[in-house]
């Protein structure tokens, strides 16, 4: 398992990669959550509007 230790630099190298992929995952999740939230907000507002106008 020589590659895990990275010649003694393992902790630095692996932390850097883990953080990078972590940030990518956060960016994807944040974008999706925001889209869903805007969508649901608009939808419930329109629902209320139609109920009222009935």
């Amino acid at each position: 398992m020589g590659f895990l230790s990275m010649g003694g630099y393992g902790p630095y190298v692996w932390t850097a990669y883990a953080l990078t992929f972590g940030v990518v995952i956060i960016c994807v999740a944040q974008g999706r959550r925001r889209h869903r939230r805007v969508w649901n907000d608009l939808r419930s507002r329109l629902q209320v509007d139609t109920e009222r106008s009935k």
Binding site: G7, Y9, V13, A16, L19, Q30, G31, H35, L42, T50
Partner: protein, 249 residues
């Protein structure tokens, strides 16, 4: 070309087209990043000076590139939005900011992790490259805070666009900082007179990572802009129909 651009600035057209393009950008980006990660971690030989610690380059440099690219996208879009009053351009600028902030954070942190074993310090106050990149992070924060503080979208667009344009002077400062002043940071590896100072077996994974992250950033940005468009067009007929089809049915 002009008719295409004109069509593109139509919100419903953009909204649909972006949805179709996102998977392609994302898939190509993930493939390139996958290759770059494996090749960078396992196939590229250790650097003769930095040994295996140099492998951080494959995540640090793409993050730093994207941090600046996102700002250029943001400032140019903000400028277009100001001059031609194009709402979609403002939506692009607003969508680029949080992504730019994340990648700037990533560039700072991976740089710090690389600096610790190479320079013996996590951070060096007063270093031009490090300081200008930190200012970039604050510019993104300022831009987002300004937008969040103004309720009216049109006014938020204009005010934040001015901030984005003023802050743009920082981008060339970041890029040339290692040449203009003495810095702990190493000089340019890729964009330099005489061509890239790196062996092909180390270079290819790096180029793949940079391109891969650019494509991934594009996919993320298109997603963000779609959300912006949906919100900005909330009173329009097409959004109402899309979000709440029962209304008209």
């Amino acid at each position: 070309m002009w008719t295409f651009l004109h069509k593109l600035s139509s919100p419903p057209y953009f909204y649909d087209l972006a949805a179709k393009m996102i998977p392609w950008f994302a898939a190509t980006g993930v493939l390139l990043i996958g290759y770059g990660t494996v090749a960078g971690l396992f196939f590229a030989p250790p650097d003769y000076q930095q040994k295996d610690a140099f492998r951080i380059i494959y995540v640090h440099v793409p993050a730093a590139y994207i941090s600046m690219m996102a700002y250029v996208v943001m400032a140019v879009s903000a400028g277009i939005g100001l001059i031609w009053r194009m709402k979609l351009a403002h939506a692009v600028a607003a969508g680029a900011a949080p992504l730019g902030a994340w990648f700037t954070f990533l560039a700072l942190v991976t740089g710090s992790i690389w600096g610790r074993p190479m320079w013996g310090t996590w951070w060096e106050w007063g270093d031009p490259r490090l300081t200008s990149e930190l200012i970039l992070l604050f510019l993104y924060f300022g831009y987002m805070a300004l937008r969040a503080a103004i309720d009216d979208t049109t006014r938020a667009d204009r005010a934040s666009a001015v901030l984005a344009l003023v802050g743009a002077v920082n981008v060339p400062i970041i890029h040339f900082s290692v040449e203009w002043w003495s810095s702990l940071h190493q000089g340019p590896t890729l964009v330099r007179a005489g061509g890239p100072a790196i062996e092909p077996v180390m270079l290819w994974p790096l180029l793949a990572m940079i391109l891969g992250f650019m494509l991934l950033f594009t996919a993320l940005l298109l997603g963000r802009v779609r959300t912006e468009v949906l919100f900005r067009e909330r009173r329009s007929r097409w959004v109402r129909k899309l979000v709440y089809p029962e209304e008209t049915a």
